[in-house]
Subunit: 449 residues, 2 copies
């Protein structure tokens, strides 16, 4: 019996080998190369995951966990013979415990489906990377997003994980409590490990009360400098800002062309405040406006109704698709550096100047409250190496400024080369950990390290 036959016997009705499926699982949304896996396994529970991993060990075939396929750095590309472990059938919301502010989910559930299911509980899960990613995938890359400045990213919002190791062992990591000092923090070791240490099969997530009162603003500035200064002043005052996003003039131009949005085409902050009383919200928004005017704000637009707020954030999340639409036939390089907060203006200026100097165009979008910004660079296929050279220079600048090569997209294949510079000798110890948990190197090999 050949090995795929054995796999089908082991997991009847859960193995797909059509070329379409094998190709769809050999790529992600941001990496230029594409591959093809041997087969796609659709586990329906932890026991299926164990079976697939034990099969993989027996036949020495690599395993690549797959959530929603929205990753950007090449984490899903097979480098040799590999099966894809598509967790989309494990998408149940297992438990909601509103009085504990937590829920328990399977890894294939997406963040939007979760928030839909939470309607009526008064709670929500705040991490929003833009894409409707799976929660398991978001934990695997330590994803974050526009609300991280207030609510934290995945690391702060995953209380516990169930994982299956390469040897088939099932571990429970962390507890459904807000604090623990009981031993080594394995939960956080698996968050951000991109499927290279084990497969996440269950997550206990922290939920937050839906804000009673929300105020959403768009504030426009003469330059990025002034916008960054305004952000700093807002944060230094301890205002409870829930979102604090920087968009440069080109990003707004792309949104105007794509959505007909009519935004002023100047560097902007998109902000949101959450509060539990109307008076608090009004006082805080007023103070924020005053601080931003002092920092040089030119125009302010408030999104008063729910509908308009939604449109604003939908527009923010459309920034990538706006470019795709405006640049048909192009490829896109998306950078994801973060720097210490005070160095953000310098890093953004550097990126903008470098784009001009290299004859590239590109939009800057920043989670400015976290010191994290993305540059979206559309290029024709033959210019891709130039865009990659730009990205490399930007990473090196970010590292020079004390920053990181990847704030929220993960390492995948693309960022591996920067880890020696970022971590120095600590990288060897990451390799030791990999060898400990996956001695045969079967879990998403060649990624991260």
């Amino acid at each position: 019996m050949d090995r795929l036959e054995a796999l089908r016997k082991l997991l009847p009705g859960k193995v797909e080998t059509s070329q379409a499926e094998r190709r769809r699982h050999g790529r992600d949304e941001g990496y230029p190369e594409e591959g093809e896996v041997l087969a796609v396994v659709y586990p329906e529970g932890v026991e299926d995951v164990r079976k697939a991993l034990l099969w993989a060990r027996e036949h020495q075939v690599a395993v690549i966990p797959f959530g929603a396929g929205t990753s950007l750095e090449g984490a899903l590309l097979p480098l040799g013979e590999a099966i894809s472990l598509d967790l989309s059938r494990m998408n149940r919301l297992l438990e909601v415990r509103p009085q504990d502010f937590l829920c328990v989910v399977e890894p294939g559930l997406t963040r939007k489906a979760l928030n839909e299911a939470l309607k009526g509980t008064g709670l929500f899960f705040p991490v929003d990377p833009g894409a409707d990613a799976s929660l398991g995938g978001m934990a695997a890359t330590n994803a974050s997003g526009t609300t991280t400045v207030r609510y934290g990213g995945m690391r702060q919002n995953v209380l516990a994980l169930q994982v299956v190791l390469a040897n088939g062992e099932v571990l429970e990591l962390g507890r459904g409590v807000r604090k623990t000092s009981a031993g080594y923090d394995l939960k956080d070791l698996f968050i951000g490990s991109e499927g290279t240490l084990g497969v996440i099969t269950r997550l206990t997530l922290r939920l937050h009360p839906l804000p009673e009162h929300v105020h959403t603003l768009r504030v426009f500035f003469p330059g990025v400098e002034e916008a960054a200064e305004a952000s700093y002043r807002v944060m230094a005052t301890g205002l409870p800002v829930a979102r604090l996003e920087l968009l440069d003039e080109l990003a707004l131009k792309a949104l105007n062309q794509h959505l007909g949005a009519g935004f002023p085409e100047r560097p902007a902050l998109f902000l949101e405040f959450h509060a539990s009383t109307r008076e608090a919200l009004e006082a805080e928004s007023a103070l924020a406006l005053e601080l931003m005017r002092e920092a040089g704000a030119l125009e302010v637009e408030a999104a008063k109704r729910e509908e308009e707020r939604k449109r604003q954030w939908e527009a923010r999340h459309q920034a990538y698709w706006a470019l795709v639409h405006l640049f048909p036939g192009h490829r896109f390089v998306i950078t994801d550096t973060a720097v210490p907060l005070s160095r953000l203006p310098e890093a953004v200026r550097y990126a903008q100047a470098l784009l001009r100097e290299m004859g590239l165009t590109g939009n800057v979008l920043g989670h400015v409250g976290d010191g994290n910004f993305h540059t979206l660079v559309p290029v024709l296929p033959e210019e891709y190496p130039k865009a990659e050279a730009f990205a490399e220079k930007l990473v090196k600048k970010a590292l020079e400024l004390g920053g990181t090569c990847t704030a929220e997209h993960g390492v995948g294949l693309r960022k591996r080369k920067y880890l020696p510079l970022e971590h120095g000798p600590a990288l060897d110890w990451m390799r030791h950990l990999k060898a400990l948990f996956d001695p045969q190197g079967l879990l998403n090999p060649g990624k991260v390290l």
Copy 2:
């Protein structure tokens, strides 16, 4: 040349061997047994720490890192031949970068000294375990405290660490940025490892803006149940509560006797709200009061002036010393369980009933916003085993409720026996990690695992 002679030669002026020093470093503030180390080394920089570790390896002597000596679970007790590595001379504030909301410190700096030094910057370091612990020690036990409900504990507030491994290697873990997905999270592996994986020699800490407006309250309830319900309502509304502490009637009685404080002797919440505008503060405090009255609050006392606020929190932190004062000649067992938020009333009732049933007295003090509470049990030396039996039952109850045996005090020696129950097979993997980083078992041996 004998080994201590060699150590003195290696680190002239930095080795103490008087019996007083050797004894002072062989104990902590909460564990009943006391020991004696071979010698105390006072490193003055990372190179001294390396030298001490290499000496220890050469002579196969254990090394126990020592911060301020305020730990409670036996983490400092030598189980065999060991030197103490007292980091109190490494107590410099190396760098403050207000615009990055961070600072860089040596591990021996205490949290109070740090906040003293930060005066004038408009920023503070929020983690407050009560004792004036060293920041390195706080990271080593993943400490937290009264403000964790708002600002997080050490894990959320340490951005990066420098550590020295048993083999003398110096690693830099994490970066001075708010977000990173660049590889495995070694920083959080070392936080909470209680000196068993390496010695922390530098910390990059996140700082927060000092609140512009503060409102501090004491609210009294007919029972613990009502106080817990009030806490839940406050948290469910998303109010920006910065402190949310439960004290039972016995705790208040002890404080009244010790400090002459005149508090009503009923279950109480001590609360604090932080806001950036007066209007926000007033509206939020009013809403909180309304919610607490609905939940059955009987009396409310507001601490209006800075002086009175300080007294309130000083009283909270004095709860342990009040008992020490009231029960001369007694020993104290302090429990540190956390449970999912909704199970807190049940856990507290269980603790109170069990104390009565076992003929013990004890105060309950809770970081109720985190589901974490302490029971302080004074006993005569001959009754110590009974108090330990109480603590064991309470831990088992907490684990049954989905909780943890130690929320913020760490494992040390006392909690080791509970880890198999709390972690199951994951504990073996913690042991593998220990063997990887410290193959000769020289770093604080016998602790945690």
